[in-house]
Amino acid sequence: MSLSKHIRTTGPLGAAAPFLAACEGPQSALDPAGSAAALIARLWWPTLFVAILVTLLVLALLTVAVFRAHRRHAALPLNARQSRNLVIAGGIILPLAATIPFALSSFSIGRTINAPLPDDAMTVEVVGKQWWWEVHYLDEAGNRIATTANEIHIPAGEPVRFLLKSDNVIHSFWVPNLQGKTDMMPGRTNVTSVTADEPGVYRGQCAEYCGTQHALMAFLLVAEEPERFDAWLEGQRQPATMPETQAQARGHDEFFEAGCAGCHTIRGTSASGDLGPDLTHIASRRTLAGATVPNRIGHLGGWITDPQHVKPGSRMPPSELTPEELKTLLGYLESLE
């Protein structure tokens, strides 16, 4: 498995190094690539610094306190006034001095992050499923113009509005390198915005426990140059390519015979199931099943024959296919660019 090829890794992954050395990773809040994450990371470093100071201060005072009279005959206590001053300085002034600026800057960062987006910002609707992500692209009027799953493309450098929904349990939408998480609450629509400064592939993961396969409910967020993005979206709007070869046509039929169409939609065919991801352009996606395995033919075959092995508990049942049937089916799916 080599997902990392697709995911931006900015440096060697740290071993047991302390906080400072290894804050990069494929999914790190401290390796910001978007404005919101950057603001939060900027809040973090001074906070960490003050926290270290406070900890050292308390421990230093404690050490002095405890060892002062060690090996002496008599105790060397503070008098009442000194004690009072110590408590006031450490217990009241110190927390106030540390938390007031912290709270104020966190309010102001919160306001910046939650500032309303321009009305013409692009809008993506994401619906949390057990355990994958359904993604709809909306036009200005709010109509769904394209549907995909587990892979979200956005234009780099532009703020994008995300409408977050769920029709089942609570999930949470989170791309650490770009943005803090927002829950997807059944019965409500939460809104968040994401801006990716640079093109790149970022990993997002469900952050609210949502049942058996919460662990393997991830997705990729692909930020592209606006032109490339537009081309991609145009491609996604189209219905699926028709089978061109005999083998692909047989694969197409197999898709119905094997019962796949009961759960999956392939726009342009009569397959319109809605229990599983839209497969209209499955071949254009980088990963399968919530960014669990790369979308290679071997993994695809493995997934279709035994999804429960790849992702135990997943809502897709295994299929009994002869090697021949599987081959034609795969051939067809591979053609769905």
């Binding site: 809040a29 406070v54 206590p77 306001r111 057990q130």
Partner: protein, 636 residues
């Protein structure tokens, strides 16, 4: 206001015959059947403590299994189903069946001793509370063995925990067993409040009460006002699951967020319910091992009370990512930061008390010093996650797992183990080994930090909590391995204490009544205390009665209590002037029968609602039997 010494004291002499009477009156019957009739506070307290530690061991083993599964990427040890049951059970058992009951247990055992009385206000209710707890815990853990354990996490969010998404009995068992623990906690709380307010030794005015008693009092009040929220939420959930009400079902006009509000309105105070008694233990230990009065008694009391109050205004900080309005949530950031002040005041009062003292570095003191290092870090990360933007990054990640283990283990478990070493001679009459105690401490201290410190970084690197596996490319493997190794060291550390405890019961050095030279009343009783706790109820003139007695070589006591029935002195709330004598009830089987009846009903409703009615009347009848007056009337 306070009691003056009597002008012309008479000497008190005891005849062995009177003592024997007293012993007979307060005696707990032997035999297997007798065991179920015990009501004395020390029996019940001890059972709470032992049972809670057994749950700690079991839940701790689950914690270790969790760690083994996470030690490397794509491990195959536990599948998703088992993992989800394990962390749910680990969290639920640790919070509800270990941390709260163990604190209650220590309070039940020691509060009556520390305030100089012979039992609690409602001894039978006390026993009832214990059986309910025991039955609840056994059923809950039994469900794990039958692999139908709950698996929706310790805060059991709807709609995941609704019948649709969690079919089967797991969540029903969770909800029902939480009700059990509520009942048990509430009985203990009322019991502790009434005992503390009305049964203190004459002269122990409120401002002379030991700090642990204050802490237990605040804990009890918090239980009384926090638990009802979870009573209601779990009732609503069980109705949703069993009779198809629509409270949390969006399609029926229900509101999933209502669950979160109700749960955290209880859940946040709950973590301080666990912390506050631990703070009391720390003060107690510091006083004894510095051998001088603590600095800032009033400030310590006020800050514990303040923590109690403020903790009811913080619950929304667990819901920062749910999409509530920002402005409203900001209030909760501010409130959460405010709680740093009473916490800080405590820390610095203790530092002032320790300053330049001739400290005896016995094992209890070591655990307290370990507390400082760990709790301050955990508290500071708590203040960090109170920031809304920062929390959106670390909420539900291992950063948070690190935060709460720092405060729970550092803030509560370390002082608790220290207190166990401290009070062990009183409970068992034997000392635990000091050498083993120190080994245990260092292993646990190092193991703890190796386990949980790396989790901060894992969280910042984007590792969500409650995931049973992760792919190798995430780069989380090394730190997870380190954490797992640490957890084994930590478990070894706790294991040394477990062995130490068992060994000492048989081989430990016999303890004097007051082996540490402590100033509070529990040390005036024998080690272990006689069935009647004190031969005479003491009269108190300061916060440090035992030190007074040592100095004056004389002590005043209450006389005139009858020996042939269970009599205790009632005193006034503020200044503890005697106002009357209360006759307490003797051992009986009825609390046990009532608890069994209640359990039958509660477990029955999982299968059919009719059990509610059956249990209602069964319990009602057992209560009548329990309270039915028998001749000779108790107070004639």
């Amino acid at each position: 206001m306070t009691l003056e010494k009597p002008a012309n004291p008479r000497d008190v002499t005891d005849s062995p015959e009177e003592t024997a009477w007293l012993e007979r009156t307060w005696h707990s019957p032997g035999g297997l059947l007798g065991w179920f009739t015990h009501v004395n506070q020390r029996m019940i307290g001890k059972r709470f403590i032992i049972t809670a530690f057994i749950f700690f061991l079991l839940a701790g083993i689950l914690g270790i299994l969790i760690r083994l599964q996470l030690a490397g990427p794509e491990q195959q040890l536990l599948g998703p189903e088992l993992y989800n049951q394990f962390f749910t059970m680990h969290g639920t058992v640790m919070m509800f069946f270990f941390a709260i009951p163990v604190m209650e247990g220590f309070a039940i055992y020691f509060v009556p001793l520390m305030i100089g009385t012979r039992d609690m206000a409602f001894p039978r209710l006390n026993a009832f509370g214990y059986y309910v707890y025991l039955i609840g815990g056994i059923v809950l853990f039994g469900s794990l063995l039958l692999s139908m354990a709950p698996n929706a996490g310790w805060f059991n969010y709807v709609p995941l925990s609704s019948k649709l998404y969690s079919p089967g009995y797991g969540v029903d068992i969770w909800t029902t067993m939480i009700t059990f623990i509520e009942v048990s906690a509430l009985t203990a709380a009322v019991e502790l409040i009434v005992t503390t307010l009305r049964m203190r030794a004459p002269g122990m005015s409120l401002n002379r009460m030991p700090l642990f008693v204050w802490a237990a009092l605040v804990m009890s009040f918090m239980i009384v006002f926090a638990m009802p929220a979870v009573i209601v939420s779990s009732t609503l959930l069980i109705l949703d699951r069993l009779v198809e009400t629509q409270f949390f079902i969006v399609e029926g006009g229900g509101e999933p967020l209502l669950w979160q509000h109700l749960f955290w309105y209880f859940g946040h105070p709950e973590v301080y319910i666990i912390l506050v008694p631990a703070l009391g233990m720390i003060s107690t230990i510091i006083i004894t091992f510095t051998r001088r009065p603590i600095y800032g008694y009033t400030a310590l009391v006020l800050s514990v009370v303040a923590i109690g109050f403020v903790s009811f205004g913080l619950w929304v900080h667990h819901m920062f990512t749910t999409g509530l309005p920002q402005l409203g949530m900001s209030f909760f950031t501010a409130a959460s930061a405010t709680i740093a002040i009473p916490s800080g005041v405590q820390i610095f009062c203790w530092i002032a008390s320790l300053w330049g003292a001739k400290i005896r570095f016995a094992t209890p003191m070591l655990w307290v010093l370990g507390f400082f290092a760990i709790f301050v870090i955990g508290g500071l990360t708590g203040v960090m996650v109170a920031s809304i933007p920062f929390d959106t990054q670390v909420h539900d990640t291992f950063f948070l797992v690190a935060h709460f283990h720092y405060v729970l283990i550092g803030g509560a478990v370390f002082p608790l183990i220290g207190a166990t070493y401290y009070w062990w001679p009183k409970i068992t009459g034997r000392m635990m080994s000091e050498a083993a105690g120190k080994w245990s401490f260092w292993l646990a201290f190092i193991g703890f930090n190796v386990t949980f410190f790396p989790m901060h970084q894992l969280g910042l690197e984007g590792m969500p909590r409650r995931i049973y596996t992760y792919v190798e490319e995430m780069g989380w493997g090394d730190l997870n391995l380190l954490a797992t190794i640490g957890s084994l060291v930590l478990a070894t550390g706790f294991g040394v204490t477990l062995i130490n405890a068992i060994w000492s019961v048989f081989r430990g050095q016999r303890a004097e009544p007051n082996p540490w030279g402590a100033p509070t009343l529990e040390w005036a009783a024998d080690s272990p205390p006689a069935s009647y706790n004190f031969r005479h109820i003491p009269v108190v003139h300061s916060r440090w009665p035992l030190w007074d007695w040592e100095r004056d070589r004389e002590r005043a006591v209450v006389t005139g209590l009858r020996n042939d029935r269970r009599e205790v002195v009632l005193t006034s709330i503020l200044d503890a002037k005697p106002v009357g004598v209360q006759v307490l009830p003797a051992p009986t089987i009825w609390p046990f029968v009532s608890a069994v009846a209640a359990s039958l009903g509660f477990i029955g409703i999982i299968f059919h609602p009719i059990f509610f009615a059956i249990a209602f009347f069964l319990v009602a009848f057992t209560l009548v039997a329990w309270f039915w007056p028998r001749r000779p009337w108790r107070n004639d």
